[in-house]
C-alpha cells in the first residue's frame, strides 16, 4: 500500500519520543484500506442508512461497494430512492432491497424505484423529511419517541398515536435505528472526526449518530489535529470506519 492510507493503516509502531527509546503504541485507527473491508460484515436483512440529498452527499463508492458485497433483503433509509441507473437505483435494480424508508422517492428519472413500487416488489414507508431527520436523530440521541405537529391529520400519520399539547394536535413518532449508516464526508481523521462539504452535509451527521456501525467515505484523510476542533461537525465517537475515496464519482 502507498499513498495517504499508509500513514493511517500500516503501522502501530509510532516511533520514539525525543530522548527516549522507542516503544509500541497502539492507536485508535478507524481508517480501513478499502470499501470492501469497510462493508464486509453487512448482513442480509440489515437496515442501512444512506446519506445524501439526491446526489449531494450520496456516498457513491459505499453504495457501489454494498452492491458488490451482496447483502440482500435490506431496508434502506435515505431521503430519496435513487434515480437513473447508479447509486441507490442500482442497488434497487440488483434486487437487494426489501423496503425503503424515505421522504421523496419520486424524481425525474426514478424509474427503477417507480417500476418496483408499482409492481409491488418493494415496500415504501414514506416519511415527511423533517420527521425522517428527527427520527434518525432520536435514535442517535437516546430518545424513545417524540411528539410532532407535522403530519397530523394526514395519510402519513394514519394509525399513529395523537395527543393534544397546549391546544395543538401532535403525532407520536418513533426512532429509526440502523445497523449501518453509510455517509459521505469531505475530510476525516483516524479518530473518525468528519467535516462535510456545503449542502452535502444534509443527513450525514444525524445518520452517523444513529448507525450502530457508521462508515464514512471521505475525500481527504488528514492527520489527527488536521481538523480545527471548532469546525468538527461529526465527532469521531459517532464514526466506526473511515475509507478514503479518491475519485469523485458524479451522480446527480
Amino acid at each position: 500500500m502507498s499513498g495517504p492510507e499508509a500513514e493511517f493503516t500500516d503501522t502501530r509502531l509510532l516511533g520514539s519520543r525525543a530522548g527516549t527509546q522507542s516503544w509500541i503504541v497502539t492507536v485508535i485507527n478507524k481508517v480501513l484500506p478499502s470499501v470492501a473491508a469497510a462493508l464486509s460484515d453487512v448482513h442480509d436483512g440489515a437496515t442501512v442508512m444512506i446519506g445524501g440529498f439526491g446526489g449531494a452527499g450520496l456516498p457513491v463508492a459505499l453504495v457501489d461497494g454494498l452492491i458488490g458485497q451482496g447483502a440482500r433483503d435490506l431496508t434502506i433509509v435515505a431521503n430519496n430512492a435513487g434515480n437513473g441507473e447508479l447509486g441507490i437505483a442500482a442497488l434497487l435494480k440488483a434486487g437487494r432491497v426489501r423496503k425503503v424508508i424515505c421522504s421523496f422517492p419520486r424524481q425525474t428519472d426514478s424509474y427503477i424505484f417507480d417500476a418496483l413500487y408499482r409492481a409491488g416488489q418493494i415496500e415504501l414507508e414514506l416519511v415527511p423529511q423533517g420527521n425522517l431527520a428527527e427520527r434518525i436523530r432520536a435514535a442517535g440521541a437516546g430518545i424513545g419517541g417524540f411528539f410532532t405537529r407535522v403530519g397530523f391529520g394526514t395519510d402519513l400519520a394514519r394509525g399513529k398515536e395523537v395527543r393534544e399539547i397546549n391546544g395543538e394536535m401532535y403525532v407520536f413518532e418513533t426512532p429509526i435505528y440502523a445497523d449501518f449508516a453509510l455517509i459521505k464526508a469531505e475530510r476525516g481523521d483516524r479518530w473518525g472526526n468528519l467535516t462535510y462539504r456545503k449542502s452535502a452535509r444534509n443527513f450525514g451527521p444525524a445518520m452517523a449518530m444513529a448507525g450502530a456501525v457508521t462508515v464514512a467515505e471521505v475525500r481527504e484523510l488528514v492527520p489527527l489535529g488536521g481538523i480545527d476542533p471548532e469546525a468538527v461537525i461529526t465527532p469521531g465517537i459517532f464514526v466506526q470506519r473511515v475509507v478514503r475515496v479518491a475519485q469523485e464519482a458524479v451522480v446527480r
Binding site: 449531494a56 423533517g130 420527521n131 431527520a133 449542502s199
Partner: protein, 223 residues
C-alpha cells in the same frame, strides 16, 4: 368542483407576475423558504434593496442565485436539486437542524405550491392520490405547519378548469388549517377563520364575481 371556460374577460397574471406580487409582501429581513416549482420564481422578484434570507431545506441559509455556467457545484444545490450559490453571511447546517428551524416557527414565510387550498386553510400539495402515482412528500408537511406564515402560490384553476380554492380538499392533505394566504393568477386572498377574504384581484374582478367563478365563498376585502 366548479369548471369555467378558459376564455375570460380579465387578464390573468403570468407566473412571474404572481411571483412579483407575492415578493412585494415579503417584509424586510424575513426568513423565507421557497418551495419547489413555481415558488422558486419569487427569488427573481424581491424588490431591489430589500434584504431577505432564503432558507433551503437541505441545509442552507442565505441561498443565492444560480451560479454562472461552469461554476456549478454538486454539493451546493437547492431543494429542487438545482445548483445554487451561497451569499456572504450564509451558513450550512445538517438536516436535523434545518428541519428544526422549519418546524418550530423560526421561518417567517414558507411559499408552497398547491393542488388545492380549502376555505379553512387545509393544504393539499403532496400527492394526487391516484393509484399508480408515486407519492413523495419531502419537506412539504414540515413547511406547511412549521413556518410562521404559509403562503400558497398557484394557478387559480387546474388545466381542466377546476378551481383550486375549495370548500374541502379532496386530494390527500399536507396539513390542516395551515395556509394563511393564497396568491393565484387572479387574486390574492387571506385565509381567515371565516374563510377566504379577498385582498386584491386582477382588473375586472371583485369578490362577488371571483366567488362565483371559484365556486367558494370569498368575502370582500376588509377595510
Amino acid at each position: 368542483m366548479t369548471r369555467v371556460a378558459e376564455s375570460t374577460a380579465w387578464r390573468k397574471r403570468t407566473r412571474d407576475e404572481i411571483a412579483a406580487r407575492l415578493a412585494e409582501d415579503i417584509f424586510e429581513g424575513a426568513y423565507v423558504n421557497l418551495g419547489i416549482g413555481m415558488p422558486t420564481l419569487v427569488a427573481n422578484h424581491v424588490p431591489t434593496g430589500r434584504e431577505i434570507v432564503l432558507q433551503s431545506e437541505n441545509g442552507l441559509l442565505g441561498m443565492g442565485p444560480p451560479p454562472a455556467p461552469g461554476e456549478e457545484d454538486l454539493a451546493l444545490v437547492n431543494a429542487g436539486k438545482q445548483p445554487v450559490t451561497l451569499l456572504p453571511g450564509g451558513a450550512y447546517f445538517d438536516s436535523a437542524d434545518s428541519f428544526a428551524m422549519m418546524r418550530a416557527g423560526h421561518l417567517d414565510i414558507a411559499v408552497l405550491g398547491a393542488f388545492q387550498v380549502s376555505e379553512s386553510g387545509d393544504l393539499a400539495n403532496w400527492h394526487t392520490g391516484r393509484p399508480g402515482d408515486i407519492p413523495a412528500v419531502g419537506g412539504a408537511m414540515d413547511l406547511a405547519v412549521g413556518a410562521k406564515h404559509t403562503w400558497v402560490m398557484m394557478e387559480h384553476f387546474t388545466h381542466d378548469g377546476a378551481c383550486k380554492l375549495v370548500s374541502r380538499c379532496d386530494y390527500p392533505l399536507t396539513g390542516l388549517r395551515c395556509v394563511n394566504r393564497v396568491y393565484t393568477d387572479l387574486a390574492v386572498l387571506d385565509v381567515t377563520v371565516g374563510g377566504f377574504v379577498l385582498r386584491d384581484a386582477v382588473g375586472g374582478l371583485d369578490a362577488e364575481s371571483l366567488s362565483q367563478l371559484s365556486g367558494v365563498a370569498i368575502a370582500p376585502p376588509h377595510r
